[in-house]
Point group: C2
Chain length 360, copies 2
C-alpha cells in the first residue's frame, strides 16, 4: 500500500515461530487457545445482541476486485495486475477507486515468497487465496476482473488409464502426448476438457455479471502433432534423459514408465468449443498473442532454467530430491545437442489470448 | 471449502519452484513474462471496450466478511473464526450466507503453514492478507466482523530512547517494563498508544458502519507493577539468563543491554481511554475474560515452549540462531527454580475482552 505502508520501513515485525515443528506457535499456544475458548460465549452474545445485519447490509464496499488465478510467486503476476489496474483507472480518470487483488495458486505454492516480494509501490490491497481454481474460491459475484496466465493448460491429474500397464492407452514411450500409442492424446484432451469445464463453472459463480476474464495459455496449432513442436521435442528430450538414467541404473525403469507431465496444450478450436458449451460466458476475443520473448534466441541453459522452474517439483516428487540436479544437468546437455532443431520449431506453439465476459 | 473441495483429494497440484533461488520460478519465467507484456495492450483494449462499469456496479457480493488480525499460523485462528461464523449463522437460520475470511499477519508470518493447515471442513472462502494491522489492509467499509487475539499488545517498535545509552530512560537493567529506570514504562505506554491509535484509525476505515470488532489482549491490573506479575517475572528470568550467558562470555554484554521485548500490557483503563478518543467506535463491552487454561498447572517446560513459540524469532534475530537452544535451555532451568513464585503470580495478569462497534 502506498498509504501508511512507507511507515513500515521503520516498523519492526515479530513473527511467531512458523511451521509445525516442536517449537512452533501452532503446537505451543495453549494459553492463547484458552482465551479463544473462553471468548466463544462472549462472541456469541456479541453477535446475537450487537450485530444488526439489516443495518449494515452486505454490500457497502465499492472496491474493484481483481484475481490472478495460478499466480505462482511473481514477479509476472505483479506486472499483470498492475496493467489491469492502470487500464481500469484510465477508464475512470476522475474517480478514486480502491482495488483489492487476490493472488491465487495451489496450497503448496510459495505464498511466503509471493507476499515478501509484493511491490512496495502497489496501489491495491493484496490478498492470497490458496486452492485449486477448478473449485469455487470466492463469494458469489464478487470479482470484477479475473486474469489467468499459463495456468489453464495444467491438468488436475494424469489420466489414470495412461499410467496403467494393462490399459490399451498405456503411454509407455512418452512423458506427454508425443508418443506412438493411440488414444493417449484423447485421454489428455478429455482430462483437459473436464478440468476446463470445472474452471469455467466455478468462475461463472464468482465473477460478477458483466465482469471480464482474460486467459493466457499455450495452445497447439491445428493439425500439427505435439511431437513436432519445440515443446514436444523438449518433452521427448526430458523423456530420453530419464530413459538414459534408467539404463545406467540410476533411477528405476518403472518410475520412468509411470512418469507423465500433467499438461495439455489444446488447439484454439478445442478451447473455443469448451467455452461455447458454458452458457455463462461470451467470447469477446480469442486470438494468437505475439510474445516478444520468442524472437530472443534461447541457449540450452535458458531452456533448462525455464523448464526446471516449472517441472522441478514434479520431477522431485516422482524420482526423489537426490536425482534432480543430475536429471537437469543431463537435460541441458541433450538440449544443447538438439538446439538448432528445437529453435526451428519454436514458432509452432501458440500463445493464446482469450477474453471472456460473464453474461448479464 | 466443503463444496467441490472434497474432490481435491484426488486432484494433484503442481507448484512452480518457490523461493527466489537460482532455480526459482520467480527468477526463471522470462517466457511467461513476455506473454504478460504482449497481453498488456490487449488487456487495455479489453477494459476500454468490454468493461461496462455502470452495468456491473461495485457492490454485488453478499458475502459476510470476517478478518482475524494477527492470526499467526493457527490452529487458534481457525477456532476463533469458526465460532464467529456459527454465531452469525445462528442469527440467520433461514438464510444461506456465504462467508469470506481474511487471515492477516506480518509479511514474515508463515502463511504457507497457515494455508496448508486450513480445516478441510471449513464453510468459508479463505484468504491471507500480509502486512501490519496498523495500516489499512482492506477496502473501505468491506469488513463486517474483525477479530484480533493476543496481537494488540505487540508494539510496532522498541521506543528508541530506551535503547539509547545516553538517554535518561536507557532501560539497562530490564528487557521490558520491569526495571528500576524511571520513564521506561511511560516510553512503552506512549508507543502502545501511538500503535493503538493507528490500529483503530485503520479499522475505522475498513469496517462497515455497524460492524463489530472483538479484541482479546493481555492487560495489567491497575496499580500492580509489571515486575510483580507472573509475566514480569518470566521476562526477568529471561533477562537474567541473558546476563548469565554474557558473563560466561557466550553472548556479548552490549547485545544483552540492547535487547528489549516489543510488547506492552496496558491496564483496562489505559486501553479504554485510547479507544474513547477514537470517535468512530463505541465500546459495547470491556471486561475480564476467564481463561480456563489458567487453572491448569504449567510445568517449567510448558512455560518455555509457550514463551519460545512467541519469542524465538526475536531472540534469534538479535543474538543469532546458534544461541537460541542454549538460551531457552537455560531459561527452562531458571523457570523451574522459580516455579512456585511464578505460579503464585499467574492470576495477576488479565485476559481482556473488548467489543467495539463501528459507529453508523
Amino acid at each position: 500500500m502506498s498509504k501508511g505502508e512507507t511507515d513500515i520501513l521503520q516498523q519492526q515485525s515479530y513473527a511467531m515461530v512458523g511451521g509445525d515443528g516442536a517449537h512452533s506457535y501452532a503446537k505451543n499456544s495453549s494459553y492463547q487457545k484458552g482465551a479463544v475458548d473462553a471468548a466463544k460465549e462472549l462472541i456469541n452474545e456479541s453477535i446475537a445482541n450487537n450485530l444488526d445485519l439489516k443495518l449494515i447490509g452486505f454490500n457497502t464496499s465499492k472496491a474493484f476486485q481483481v484475481a490472478d488465478l495460478g499466480c505462482s510467486t511473481g514477479p509476472n503476476t505483479f506486472i499483470a495486475v498492475q496493467n489491469i489496474i492502470e487500464a481500469v483507472e484510465q477508464k475512470l480518470p476522475h474517480e478514486t477507486l480502491e482495488f483489492q487483488v487476490f493472488f491465487n495458486d495451489h496450497y503448496d505454492n510459495d505464498f511466503n515468497t509471493l507476499f515478501k516480494t509484493l511491490p512496495s509501490s502497489r496501489k491495491y490491497f493484496a490478498s492470497g487465496v490458496p486452492g485449486s481454481f477448478r473449485n469455487r474460491l470466492f463469494p458469489k459475484s464478487s470479482l470484477h476482473f479475473v486474469h489467468s496466465s499459463y495456468a489453464l493448460h495444467w491438468l488436475s491429474r494424469i489420466p489414470a488409464e495412461i499410467v496403467d500397464r494393462n490399459s490399451p492407452v498405456w503411454n509407455k514411450d512418452s512423458i506427454q502426448c508425443t508418443g506412438s500409442v493411440k488414444g493417449v492424446t484423447e485421454a489428455y484432451a478429455t482430462q483437459f476438457e473436464n478440468d476446463t469445464v470445472s474452471f469455467l463453472d466455478a468462475r461463472a459463480e464468482d465473477i460478477v455479471p458483466g465482469g471480464l476474464m482474460v486467459i493466457l495459455t499455450l495452445a497447439m496449432p491445428d493439425g500439427i502433432p505435439m511431437s513436432e513442436t519445440a515443446n514436444g521435442v523438449l518433452y521427448d528430450v526430458l523423456g530420453s534423459c530419464l530413459n538414459d538414467l534408467a539404463k545406467m541404473g540410476i533411477i528405476s525403469e518403472e518410475k520412468v514408465e509411470s512418469f507423465n507431465l500433467p499438461i495439455y496444450n489444446a488447439t484454439p478450436r478445442e478451447v473455443e468449443a469448451i467455452i461455447r458449451r458454458n452458457k455463462y460466458f461470451t467470447i469477446e476475443r480469442l486470438e494468437e498473442l505475439s510474445n516478444p520473448v520468442r524472437s530472443i534466441p534461447f541457449t540450452a541453459q535458458d531452456y533448462t532454467v525455464n523448464f526446471r522452474a516449472i517441472f522441478e517439483e514434479i520431477v522431485k516428487n516422482h524420482f526423489g530430491k537426490e536425482y534432480v540436479d543430475q536429471i537437469f544437468y543431463h537435460f541441458t546437455e541433450r538440449v544443447a545437442e538438439n538446439l538448432s532443431f528445437i529453435e526451428e520449431k519454436t514458432l509452432d506453439i501458440i500463445d493464446l489470448f482469450i477474453l471472456l465476459k460473464r453474461s448479464v
